[in-house]
């Protein structure tokens, strides 16, 4: 592996009493799509903004493209692309005007019309920013992150506010970035997005990286078992389900239950017996592989959307 594009060692940042980032260490390789997965307040955005040079760390070592973002200023900012959350651009400007404005900040700039086409904004080229839907505004904001054709681009929750179709389009675009050799650092709380796009994922919670690996490895490391999911609105408790044969863990949210089992046929048999004995209905039952969402729940005891 060549020199990492990003090296972070024991990074810390506090806001008053709140330790937002509490000792984070990781590396991002050249050409990698690196995901940071975690709920709101996990420290993803703070970490990324330190890497972008927008925030100053309290302590720790940070190297991005061989520079320290905190001290390299404009030389550094020329080389990276950044997308931030919740930026409401000039509401009265048109899409193509904003793209050329941002292009004018860099020596190296992509063709405005090419970017518009790449982001699928052709029919909104002359629309004012205030008229864009949430998904379109989000796509424009991703376009601005690559207006300088950077080697390294940071995308902070890029698919927020998008409908499922728009989200899939965005995933294609991000895969296009990777195909061009860009390194992408992506924060998200959509587990599907991380699974689909990321070569490796850092799972963050309370300012720490609690797991770091490829999505499939994360699942494999944490779950040798598959899950049984079903809905039952009557009398089956987490406690009962946890005592079924071959069950490793069980969780219930209201009437929705999921049980992880190392031996699906045995667990299934005992579940059916229990349901019959209790007279409890079982609806929408299915067996599936574990996901990153399950990994997160297991590692933190919380779901990503909490």
């Amino acid at each position: 592996m060549s020199t990492p594009v990003i090296q972070v060692r024991d990074l810390r940042k506090a806001y008053g009493d709140l330790q937002a980032v509490a000792g984070v260490t990781f590396e991002v390789a050249d050409g990698e799509v690196f995901g940071m997965l975690g709920p709101n307040g996990a420290g993803k955005t703070t970490t990324v903004e330190i890497l972008e040079g927008l925030r100053i760390r309290d302590s720790g070592e940070v190297g991005v493209l061989g520079m320290d973002p905190a001290t390299s200023g404009r030389d550094f900012k020329r080389l990276v692309g950044v997308q931030l959350q919740q930026v409401a651009l000039y509401p009265r400007l048109r899409v193509h005007e904003v793209i050329s404005l941002f292009g004018s900040f860099y020596e190296r700039q992509a063709e405005t019309e090419e970017l518009i086409a790449l982001m699928g904004l052709e029919d909104r080229r002359n629309a004012r920013i205030a008229e864009l839907s949430g998904g379109q505004a989000q796509r424009l904001s991703v376009a601005l992150a690559v207006v300088n054709m950077p080697r390294l681009v940071f995308l902070d929750e890029p698919s927020t506010g998008m409908d499922p179709q728009a989200r899939r389009n965005l995933w294609d675009i991000i895969e296009g970035f990777k195909a061009r050799g860009m390194t992408v650092v992506l924060t998200t709380h959509y587990m599907e997005e991380a699974e689909r796009l990321c070569d490796r994922v850092a799972v963050m919670d309370h300012g720490r990286v609690i797991a770091l690996d490829s999505p499939s490895a994360l699942v494999r490391e944490n779950f040798a078992e598959d899950a049984i999911e079903f809905v039952s609105n009557d009398g089956l408790s987490e406690h009962d389900l946890g005592k079924l044969a071959a069950v490793t863990s069980a969780s219930s949210q209201g009437s929705a239950h999921s049980i992880f089992s190392s031996d699906i046929p045995r667990t299934m048999g005992s579940l059916l017996d229990l349901a019959q004995a209790r007279g409890a209905p079982l609806e929408g039952m299915r067996v599936r592989h574990a996901t990153l969402e399950d990994v997160f729940l297991k590692l933190t005891g919380r779901t990503l959307r909490d």
Binding site: L54, R78, A88, L89, S104, F105
Partner: protein, 362 residues
């Protein structure tokens, strides 16, 4: 690569597409000047004031008096009956009515002259200030004609300032100074809005230097201030009939820009205390509103009580208004031009320095 022009163009587009900003910076001052111009304006320079003349005496002296009066261009004389002329005065159709009473001629011969009766409405300022003096002068001339005396004491009056400064000449430069203040202070709202919308933060992630961002913004504000000033001076002349000192117009533009810079700096400083565009308005109002009334824009400074003078002296609009009045119409100086320019420069330097210190990207 050079981002200055694209940023300037962005400011321009953002401004001309913002109807509210257009209204407050262009339409509102234009309306203001227009209304003041119509209400207080000189009107047509050659126009004369309607005066009614009621002659109830048939003597040659009365005839001679009428002739002298009709020779004055400043008054348009209409002869009529006493009742109709007084009614016209009550209706505002006459500025004054002069009655030559019966027996006027014979009273002169008897060396016990009857006084003329002059009816007028004392609440009418122009009558008091213009018509009555003209009438008095006319009576004087008529007096000499009738008594065949030669005047011994005569005088020529030479005014130090431009010929006849009227209320409108006083107010117009002040109104222009007011628009410069508003254009500057409220112009800073664009920056507050960019910060509120997190655009400043996004820009801070690009290699764009801060000076280019601020420079393009300030340059654009100054262009707006200049356009405003030129437009308002033209309106002051056309509608208000203000006689502008044309040779001073370049200096006036320079002072408008200096004042504009000082007020933009104050606006940036105030902007540091507002999180949102909505929050900026009351702060800016609190600062600009007292200046409207205490900086000699509408009321001359010497009509104010002494205890308020220190407040007046602390207000930058006082100096901008005074400088603009001196340059535009040759108004009597309150302060020397050097003091006016010095104070405005000091405000610019101090508040720009503070604004830079307090500036935050988010």
């Amino acid at each position: 690569m050079n981002a200055f022009l694209p940023l300037f163009r962005t400011n321009y587009r953002d401004f001309v597409r913002d109807r509210t900003a257009l209204f407050w910076t262009i339409a509102f001052p234009v309306l203001f000047i227009g209304i003041f111009g119509i209400v207080l304006g000189r009107g047509d320079e050659g126009a004369s004031y309607e005066v009614g003349l009621v002659v109830e005496d048939q003597s040659p002296q009365a005839a001679a008096l009428s002739q002298v009066l009709s020779g004055f261009e400043a008054i348009a004389l209409t002869r009529g009956e006493r009742e109709t002329e007084i009614a016209m005065l009550a209706d505002g159709e006459r500025r004054a009515v002069v009655v030559v009473p019966q027996g006027f001629g014979s009273s002169i011969s008897r060396d016990a002259p009857l006084p003329l009766q002059v009816h007028f409405d004392p609440s009418q300022q122009t009558t008091q200030q213009v018509v009555i003096p003209v009438l008095l002068r006319a009576f004087e001339v008529a007096d000499r004609a009738l008594t065949q005396t030669r005047p011994v004491v005569t005088a020529e009056f030479e005014t130090l300032q431009s010929e006849r400064l009227q209320v409108i000449d006083f107010i117009m430069p002040g109104l222009i100074a007011m628009s410069v203040m508003n254009g500057g202070v409220f112009g800073a709202i664009a920056m507050v809005s960019l910060r509120e919308r997190r655009v400043l933060r996004r820009l801070s992630a690009t290699p764009l230097p801060a000076w280019a961002l601020v420079g393009a913004d300030v340059t654009f504000r100054m262009v707006v201030v200049l356009v405003q000033t030129v437009l308002l001076v033209i309106l002051a002349v056309l509608i208000g009939g203000v006689s502008v000192k044309v040779e001073n117009l370049p200096a006036l533009a320079g002072v408008a820009v200096l004042g504009g810079l000082a007020f933009v700096a104050i606006g940036f400083f105030l902007g540091a205390f507002a999180k949102t565009e909505q929050g900026f308005f009351p702060i800016a109002q609190v600062v600009t509103f007292p200046m409207l009334f205490l900086s000699g824009i509408f009321f001359p400074l010497d009509s104010m009580p002494d205890w308020i003078r220190p407040v007046v002296s602390a207000m930058p609009l006082t100096y901008l208004g005074d400088a603009m009045r001196q340059l535009m119409v040759g108004g009597a100086p309150v302060h020397s031009m050097a003091l006016n320019l010095g104070v405005l420069t000091a405000f610019l330097v101090v508040f720009f320095g503070l604004a830079v210190r307090l500036f935050k990207y988010e």
